[in-house]
Symmetry: C2
Subunit: 348 residues, 2 copies
Amino acid sequence: MKYNQVTIKDIARELGISPSTVSRALKDHPDISPETKKAVNELAEKLNYQPNIVALSLRQSKTNTLGVVIPEIVHFFFSTVISGIEDVAYSAGYNIIITQSNESLQREKTDIKALFNSRVDGMLISLSRETNSFEHIDAMMAKGVPMVFFDRVYDSANSSKVIVDDLSGAKEATLHLIEQGCKRIAHLEGPPNLDITKQRLQGFREALTENNLPVHEDLIVSCPQGTIEEGKAAAEKLLKMANPPDAIFATNDPAAMGAMQTIKEAGLKIPQDIAVVGFSNWFFSSLMDPPLTSVDQPGFEMGQEAAKLLIRQIEVKSKEHIDPTPETKLLKTRLIVRDSSLKSGKKK
Amino acid sequence: MKYNQVTIKDIARELGISPSTVSRALKDHPDISPETKKAVNELAEKLNYQPNIVALSLRQSKTNTLGVVIPEIVHFFFSTVISGIEDVAYSAGYNIIITQSNESLQREKTDIKALFNSRVDGMLISLSRETNSFEHIDAMMAKGVPMVFFDRVYDSANSSKVIVDDLSGAKEATLHLIEQGCKRIAHLEGPPNLDITKQRLQGFREALTENNLPVHEDLIVSCPQGTIEEGKAAAEKLLKMANPPDAIFATNDPAAMGAMQTIKEAGLKIPQDIAVVGFSNWFFSSLMDPPLTSVDQPGFEMGQEAAKLLIRQIEVKSKEHIDPTPETKLLKTRLIVRDSSLKSGKKK
DNA sequence: ATGAAAGCGCTAACAC
DNA sequence: GTGTTAGCGCTTTCAT
């Protein structure tokens, strides 16, 4: 924008002093006389002077801007993460530039390059579903661009990341069902290639074995997309069994929702006949009928932690001129108990 | 970022030519020899040269960046709008800087000032709920910053805006119910101070009168927050009436959802006994039970249109050096017919 | 206590 | 066809 921006020069000219003096006065430099400071600040105020951050950025090779690459913005979890990033960035005086890869590797590459060209001070990245090669990431790292990955992380030794502790979350959810007195707990499993799927299944298994309950392999049903439809189909299959489960721990909320629909249509009561627990990408568990007890994924906190980590790395690097050591932050989930799996022991 | 950025100078030095020649070669300037171009481009490629956009921005007083001020990111409607903005901005070669006001006027002021300092080429703004004074906006306009408002707009003669045609949307929704054969249609009304509330009520009334149906004032129930709870309370009130309605047009989806819950709990069938239509901030109408027929608010399109409008204004202004005339874009809604209000005439 | 000058990386008028 | 120069707005030595 050209337009009517007031510059330091304008103030200098008007006051008959030099631009450097104005610059110093504005930042309260010790060896500027109080009178000069006063005059400068008053005129700046009067003219509504606003420093040109672009010039500053060029001068200091620091933009105070974080680049964010996200698979899609319209997604409760990711928009929550953005909000968390924005929260921390704002407090620390950083802007955020948002790009969305739309789950495309090509787009992700372009985005990262564009962010580099904008000379962001660092990047926060959640990888696209397509991403299976990492040269574009490595290239940035080689240039020394600070990066922090979140949720969909780059699993490399020297990358910093923030992830959710899915194993503990799944364990907690299963444990909760066990405490309600459930004995035959089914698990609706997620996409087989994802790490989170394995973690959640593992947590499920551990909770059972640690409580001396058998793991019935036939009660583990795959929902490769984790959709409502798959949840329905899985529940149908489970209900048809000779000895159906008394509880379901679903890989995510849509699957849980589908299962709930099927159970209700079969005339069974939730949670009296079958208790249900989900693993949440949404906050909609509260809206389900009955409300769904769910493992809450801390998106906001993830954004905050990722931004904090990145900003710390940026500042360490700029001050100490050393590459900060990569860090991994594991976020705890929180089980939000609602109606669909009672708090008081329903069976003894 | 300082780090290892390759500059035009590096290429010039290595090739023994001047920086300006490199600059021209890189942008395929006509009077640079093919050989020089080739040499430059190859070396640039080899060194992985990336232009420094900050320097470019300073030089041209143009950042190719749009600032976005939004009340909250974690909201289906707004995140959809952001996605639309990002879509258009990306194609046009613009970055977007996102700020969220968190519905605070103070924060909105800070955000706008920060965006100005970053010298964004223009701003896309949806006002906070608190915003009742407009000096901060007027100040930016006075400086000549191109601005486009969307959804929560600044209702001034010389501001450009993109809004949804709530009146037609409400009319269409009501008309749909009339076509189903409904005679006594209730309306759950929204927050009384908002313009959209009036528009929707007006559309509701017009649809009835144009179809020679009486407007029963007692079937218009206020839901000042438009929440689930209010929807429930409103439905309870309506069901208690001596002559209850045969359809409900709700101000938004939560209210519709609440009403649906109450209706189902009363043992009535939707849509056979009472048809329901919502006005959507969410895409969740498809998940309701039965799925909710809903007036879809085109958030993505709104973001696209707002970004297009802003970019056009920016480019007109920079080329023709005149202030572009303010424009208003009225977006059509789309009635998405699902199960909860049948397509075929249910009553004759 | 203040000013002059250089430079961040890039481009564009003006040489030649 | 290519080099020289100046300047975008700012800060920061280095003078004085």
